[in-house]
Every structure is written in C-alpha cells, then in structure tokens.
Amino acid sequence: MFAVIQFPGSCDDRDMWFAMSSVLAGKCSMVWHQESELPAGTKGVLLPGGFSYGDYLRCGAMAQLSPIMGAVKRFAKRGGPVLGTCNGFQILCEAGLLPGALRRNSQLVFVCDDVHLRVEKRAEPFSSRTEKGAILTLPIKHGEGCFYASEMELGLLEQNGQVLLRYCELDGTISKASNPNGSLGSIAGVLNKEGNVLGLMPHPEHAVEAAFGGTDGIAILGSLLDMARSA
C-alpha cells in the first residue's frame, strides 16, 4: 500500500491518490500530517505537490516539521521508497532527505507547461519501466523549482548517479532554452545516495491518462507499483 501524505495546503494529494488507485489500480491511502506513524504495510510514501502551510516561509520549511515526517524519515532510512513531487521535493530537501534546495525560478514567475525530460538511469524503484536516454513529457507547475546545490554537492550527485531526470529538448539535447526554471545541470529529479528517495519537480501524477496530459507519468508511478507488487 502507498501512503499519500496530506499536509494542510497540499493540492495534488487527491490527484496522486487518483492516479495510483483509480487509474493504475494500486492500493493507496491518505495519511494526515498529524499522524506520527505510517499505516502498517506501507510499501511507499508519496509527498504530493501543493503549497503546504501556504509556503509563506521557505517552501517545505514548515511541512518538514509535521509529526508524520519523523515516520517518513525512519521509513526512508530502512530503505523504503519515498517520492516527493514539486512541493514534496521541496519538503524532502528541507527535511534533509535529499541534497540541494529549490530556489525561485530564474525568470521569477510561476510556470505551468509541458516539458521534455531525459531519463538518466534505469533503476528500481522509480524508473524500472523506462530506460536510460528515454524522453518523457510531463507537466511542471511551480514558482520555486530552480534546483541548486553547491559545486561540491553537484559533483557528488553526478559522480554517484543521483540525477534521474533532466530538462531537455524533444531530441534529448540539454540546452538553456529547454531549462524552464534555471536549475543547475538542468536537474529536474534527484535521488538520494541510496536511490530510495526521489524528488521531482515535474508531476507524473498529471500524466497518467491519454486525454489528460498523456501517459508518460506511468513510467515513474508504474515502476513504483511494480516494485510494490513484486516485494
């Protein structure tokens, strides 16, 4: 079973639940941020997008202090898969589960659009359904998605193969024009060193039905479901 954590101000929580359960036929339940434990049998944790606590402070800074985050950290330490999308990514960075930080978009305005993304590696539990070099098209919608890390951290990320997705042109070329927010290294998705925590600025949950933004999000969410089913 997957647990979608619901913070006050989460917006894509119901969409994540809908994608995982209604569209992809997985088991999924909502977990309120005030809980201190994850439900028994949790196979994966999903931190949804939105504006937790309004993001009036630094994005994710308040949410990472919610009681449930202690349980999420323990779950991640035991090797459990944790996926944070958009605000979820920001929360994971604030919680120290992922390196780096997400800053204001370089053009200083919120951006909602479809972007192309190059898959940098095929690995369980997040990208087993796709392959290195594959191009995914997913929506982004954020005001603070510019990935930043120190030069040393960035070097380590590349060295350890922790970059899962990069913004790119349709043919896979990495360019300034295809980088929608000024992220360093065109980074759109980052893994922790162990590979069981992923932060994504794009929204796979908004690309699971052909008529509603395409189906490329299944490459990510489907991989998670495969992992849960085989475990």
């Binding site: 101000g9 917006c11 993001d55 919120f110 929506p139």
Partner: protein, 746 residues
C-alpha cells in the same frame, strides 16, 4: 466606547443620500447608532444592493428545466444529470485591482471560490476576463503583471485549475481596468447548501481568518463610486488575500457539508459580517442575536463598527444544527482555523448585536436586506450614438497587402497568444483539464464528490466583444451570448446556462443607464432564444475615472455539458489532408471589426448582425456533429475574421497548414477580416456526412479547402492568391504579441 453622533452629514459621508437617511430614520423611529449607520451604508451601497440595476435585472430569463438555483444565492446551479450539479458564478474585482493589482485580483479569485464552495460544491475550474489599457503604457504593463500574478498566486495555491478566459486591451480601460473572475464547482444535486439562518435556537458560528481592520468600506465606497486622482488614497480599502487559509476553509467546509451538521452557510464577502448575517436571516425570515465580544480579531481594540464592516478575507458564517457546535468547531480546528459560536437564530426578524455588555445594533432585518432601495434611474440614448454607428466604407482605404495585415493582426495583444498570461496559472491541478486555455472553450472532466471519474465534461467560455457593445450595447450583448454559446458548442458540448458580469460606468448618467438597459435587453433576448438562462451574476458600476467611462462590457460566462468527453472536439487542425468546411454565412460585415480598428484606426459602424434562430440551429448542429464524431476540429470565427481563425487553427500541429479558396464576392478586407457572427471552421474526413447533416440542420456549409503543409494559403475564386505565408512565421509573430511588449529586453 466612544462613537461619533450620527447626523445627516455623517450619513452623506457614508455615501448615503438624503432620502435614504430619511428612510433610515423612519424605519428605526430614532437616530441610528454609528454601527447601524455603517450597516445601512454598506447594505444599501450600489455594490451590495444592486439598487440601480435590479429593476432591470428582473427582466432576465432565469428559468429552465435544468436550473436548480437561479440568481439571488451565492452562485447559480444547474443539473448535469446522474445526481450531479454544476455551481458557477462570475464576479468583478475591478476597482481593487486597479489600485493594488496583485491583491485586488487575488481576492477576486478568493471571493468567487468562496461563493462556489459555500453552495457545497468543490471548485474544479476558474476562468477570468481581464481588460487593460494599452501595453505601450508602463502603468498597464505593471497592472497586467500584477493582476496575472495575483490570479496565479491565489488560484495556484488553493489548487483550482485556471483553464481559460480572455485578456483584452483597449484605451477605454486606461483609467479603469476590469478583472472579472469566474469559478465552477461540482456538487451533489441533493446537497446544495443555501444561505439561510433556519431553525430558531440554532447556533451561529464564525469560522476562518480573524477579523482585522482591512477592507472596511471596500465594497461600499471603493466599488460604488468613480475614480479620480485620489484613487491611491483608497488603497487601505483593498483586502489582502490568504489562499492557504482559503484552501483549508474549502476542505473543512466540504467535509462538514458532507455531514448533517450544517443548516446554512454564507461567506463574508463585501460588507463582511454585516452582509452575511443580514442575508442569512432575511433569506430564512428569521433574526439573529450576536455577541461581538466572541469574534476572533487581529487587533485587540477593534470597535463594533470595525468588526461589523471589516472585509477581511477567508471568513465564513454558518448556522449549525443545535448540539453540533462542538463537532463543527472541531473540524475547523483540525484544519488550523478559528471557529467560535457567536450567536443564535431568533424568531423576531431583528438583528441584535451586543458589544461589551451593551446593545450596539437593534434593527429589523428585512428593510435593510430584502427591501433595500430600488431605483429606476433615468436613461437616455447617448448623443454620439449616431456618430459611433456611422461608417462610410467607400472612404476607407482598401487593403493592399492582406498578408501584412494578417501579421499585424496576429501581433496585436488582443489577438496574439495569451500564453504569457496562462503559463503563470496552474492549468492541470485536479487532473481534469481536457482543453485548457487558448481554445474556444475550456473543457473539464466532471468527477463525483468522492473523486471517482465520470464520462461527463463541462465546456466553459467567457466572452465579450467590448467594441460591439460600445457601438450597439443591445446587439453587442446578444453577440456575446451567442459567441459564448458557440464557443461551448464548438467543443461538442451543449450550452446550458449563463453567468454574467455587467461592467459599466456611472449609472447616475442617463447615457450609461441606457447602455446598461440595452445590454440587459440584448442578453435577455439572446439567452431566451438560445435556451441558456442566466443563473448568477454580478453588476459592477462606476467604472470610470475623471468622468471617462469604460466601454460597456457585459461579460458572459457560459457553461455547457458533454455527456462523453471522448466526443470532444478541439480547435486546432488535427491531421493533414482533411477537408475544411466553412459553416455559416458571410455577410461581409466590417463594422466594429478588429481590422478597422487596428489597420485604419476606425472604431465605428454597426456591429455584425446576430441571427438567433440560425445561431440555435448552428449550435445544435455542432453538438450533433460531435456526438456522431464527424469532426476533427472546429473553431469559431470571431475577432480578426476568417483569416485570423484559419491561422489560429494552423498553430496546433506542425504539418497542419491549410490551403483555402474563398468566395470573394466582396472586398478583400470584408472577405478576409470581416466579423460576421455564427461562422465556424470545421475539419473532417467525411465531408459528405457533414454537408448532409448541415442541410438537415438548415445550416449553410461549404467545403473551402484542405489542411496540410507548412503554409497557410488563401486564394479567391478567380485563383488570385490573397495570402501565402509560412505558418511557423505567423505563429512566431502571434506568440511574440505579448512577450515583445512585456519583456522587450529578451
């Protein structure tokens, strides 16, 4: 407590007239207290009482078999079948947005969303209609930037997709921009909540943000008078929005409304606590007793006057079942919101408010709410109407370079791509967006309140051609209703009902009243003929600065239903080598056209005719074509005429240009850029079936060309090429229309 003594001068300062003050003395049989004067002044303001317009609004058609709730409640509601209802409304936030664009627009979005979830509906989509002066003016670049960022700030944060709308520019809005916000929600038909304080003894509960000193007289003074140079002094009357609190309010209220704990609910919008409590008591024929000492507040020393008139945002007033107060408060508290019992429902038809042990308000509910003043202001045809409508085309230089004209039109911010605007809005949240901004109408899937998907989708469009309305308010308003319906029908959805936002100048001027009356008449005629009743709306008057009014702008929001969204049709050409069919008749009408305005600087003439009988047949034909899956695309021909509509249709997919031959019986400019209404471009693989259905539907249709290639080529019957342009180049001009003016350095 030290409050000023009330006299006529103080009443006049509050925007009341001498007659109104006399009436107050008569109702009360005594001099009102300061708080009571404040209450009368806001409740009888133009904004809250609709005193100049309600006499005329009564003529609007509001009934229909699918109408569940017409005007008068927080929002209108229509049945979608299968126990589901769509709840929707459009509202203006013009004056606040001109003074403080970001917060003004943001709170406009917040206010309309509250109107929707107050009815028990989850808001699923927002749209907006925004109008500015020229982008050559730095002030209007600032205003556009601010309004768009405000709409995004609020809408994105509450998790409601912004899926469409219109962005227009015209000098008549240079001193008074328009920001109209529309929202649509889904509810169970059997669980629509109304604003009634029913059940004597039931607790009255205040929930949401604390009450502050912001926004006092926002509605009564800011929205109910014209602007002059002192506009900036009114900045403190603009409220500040908190979308996070609103998001929590939405979730808490919807959770509560799925139980049986709530009897009635009303948001505190214009005139705050005063308006909401009076309306709730008036609707139910009851009274309310309230203790202001219990109101959560931001400043310890607030006076009763301030507590009653504050327009702090994100606040709700609820009447709960007796005995459920603790449960209700506990749900709000779980969402981190204040909730307190502030009073109870009484049976004596009076509003009694106490503060620190003394009674500060004791007045009968009905004379303030339901029986507020109703005026039949004098109206007079504007003296310059004849001049507005006269146009001698023989004196207008004809078009010698149609291709350059097309490029010029596409590069105008009115016709150019609005992607600069809508890229700043979350168009995807809730996962229901089938057609987002940029199409003829937005198309949004309907999910049940439990989150399960249905095959139904709502098509939603917001329209107004302000130039047509200025030249002929009645015909312009008819055209707006017809176009909004046509845009909805172009997606394959059946137009069902209308919400309107009537933006006009100062109603104390007979010429403005004439425009308002004519526009309402036009809406009535068209809405009746097309079977799309008006279920909600808003009137915004005094839209003028230093005596210069805006163009009359009756914005029409149309909602339609498609039973199976798999039948939906998009606006862009979808495949090469398909036949392009022109539906409708070109009457070669150039009056009020974009071409005349942009290329010749002429804004006069008579706007195009609107044939409503034909329009009804056309819309039915479009819906039938969708159901039979005959069409690959369909796109309404409007501003800029057929040339612009063809270009727009080519901008979707590469390799989907077009080659078209037009029957040019008239001049080049009339043929390419005329704006005859009721025309639609469709593409199909089965032209015979489409033509035959058109014949059966008594709708003119003719094959005019084929899709395909990288160019848009338009020829006349005698084979002379009028336009032959690269689609990519046209598209780039069109895409740059707004960015090149907003970010010229890039």
């Amino acid at each position: 407590m030290n409050e000023p003594d009330v006299d006529l001068d103080l009443a006049l300062e509050h925007g009341l007239t001498e007659q109104e003050y006399a009436q107050i003395l008569k109702i009360l049989g005594r001099t009102p207290s300061f708080s009571e004067l404040g209450i009368f002044s806001v409740m009888w303001s133009e904004h809250c009482s609709y005193k100049s317009s309600k006499h005329h609004l009564k003529t609007l058609p509001v009934k229909g078999p699918h109408v569940l709730q017409g005007p008068g409640e927080n929002a209108g509601a229509i049945s979608l079948g299968d126990g589901l209802a769509a709840v929707f409304k459009i509202e203006s936030h013009n004056h606040p947005s001109f003074i403080e664009p970001k917060q003004g627009a943001a709170t406009g979005v917040g206010g309309i969303l509250r109107d929707i979830f107050t009815m028990g509906a989850r808001p699923i989509a927002s749209l907006n209609s925004i109008r500015f002066g020229s982008l050559a003016d730095a002030r209007h670049r600032f205003l556009l930037r601010g309004v768009v960022s405000g709409i995004g700030h609020y809408g994105n944060c509450v998790g409601v997709a912004t899926v469409g709308g219109e962005t227009q520019f015209h000098d008549s809005y240079a001193g008074n921009i328009l920001v109209n916000a529309m929202s649509v929600g889904i509810a169970e038909e059997s669980k629509i909540f109304l604003a009634g304080a029913k059940g004597v003894g039931n607790p009255v509960i205040y929930a949401g943000s604390k009450t502050g000193r912001d926004g006092i007289h926002g509605a009564s003074l800011l929205a109910s008078s014209e602007f002059d140079e002192t506009g900036n002094d009114k900045r403190p009357t603009v409220q500040v929005g908190d979308p996070f609190t609103e998001k929590c309010l939405i979730e808490a209220c919807l959770e509560l409304m799925s139980t049986d704990a709530i009897v009635g609910i009303q948001d505190m919008g214009a005139a705050g606590l005063t308006c909401s409590s009076f309306e709730m008591a008036s609707n139910a024929g009851t009274g309310i007793e309230m203790n202001l000492d219990t109101i959560p507040r931001r400043a310890a020393t607030m006076t009763p006057y301030e507590l009653l008139l504050s327009e702090s945002q994100e606040r709700m007033l609820l009447v709960a079942q007796s005995g459920k107060e603790e449960f209700v408060c506990s749900v709000f508290e779980r969402w981190g919101l204040d909730a307190v019992v502030v009073g109870k429902v009484t049976d004596d038809g009076r509003m009694r408010v106490s503060f620190e042990g003394s009674t500060v308000v004791d007045i009968p509910v009905d004379p303030v709410a339901a029986s507020s003043p109703e005026l039949n202001r004098p109206s007079k045809e504007p003296e310059d109407l004849g001049a507005r409508q006269s146009l001698n085309l023989s004196l207008v230089e004809s078009e010698s370079n149609p291709e350059a004209a097309l490029r010029a039109l596409l590069s105008d911010p009115n016709l150019g791509s609005k992607s600069w605007v809508y890229r700043q809005y979350d168009q995807r949240v809730q996962g229901n967006t089938l057609i987002g901004p940029g199409g003829d109408a937005a198309l949004v899937r309907v999910k049940r309140p439990d989150g399960s998907p249905t095959t139904k989708a709502l098509a939603i469009s917001v329209d107004c051609n302000h130039r047509f309305c200025w030249l002929d308010p009645e015909k312009g308003a008819m055209a707006a209703v017809a176009e909004a319906g046509r845009n909805v029908a172009c997606t394959g959805a059946k137009p069902l009902a209308v919400t309107n936002c009537l933006n006009f100048g100062n109603p104390e001027k007979p010429e403005i009243m004439w425009e308002l009356k004519k526009a309402i008449k036009g809406i009535s005629i068209a809405a009746s003929a097309l079977g799309t009743p008006i279920v909600s709306g808003n009137v915004s008057l005094y839209n003028e600065t230093n005596g210069t009014p805006i163009f009359p702008t009756p914005t029409i929001g149309m909602v339609g239903l498609i039973d199976d969204w798999a039948d939906a049709i998009g606006a862009h050409f979808k495949r090469p080598y398909q036949e392009i069919i022109l539906i409708g008749t070109d009457r070669f009408e150039l009056g009020g056209s974009m071409w005349l305005a942009k290329m010749r600087g002429i804004e006069s003439g008579r706007p195009p005719e609107v044939d409503l009988d034909y329009e009804r047949r056309l819309q039915k034909f479009l819906v039938l074509s969708g159901e039979r899956r005959l069409l690959s695309s369909s796109h309404d021909i409007s501003d800029g005429g057929i040339a612009v509509a063809l270009a727009e249709s080519c901008f979707g997919l590469e390799g989907c240009g077009a080659s078209v031959t037009l029957n040019a019986e008239s001049t080049l400019e009339e043929c390419l850029f005329g704006e005859s209404t009721g025309r639609v471009l469709v593409t199909t693989d089965c032209a015979e079936d489409v033509l035959s259905l058109a014949r059966d539907s008594d709708v003119p249709a003719i094959v005019v060309g084929k899709t395909g290639g990288e160019r848009l080529k338009i020829s006349s019957l005698n084979d002379s090429v009028l336009i032959d342009a690269s689609v990519a180049q046209l598209k780039s001009v069109w895409e740059d229309a707004i960015p090149s003016r907003m970010d010229p350095e890039e």
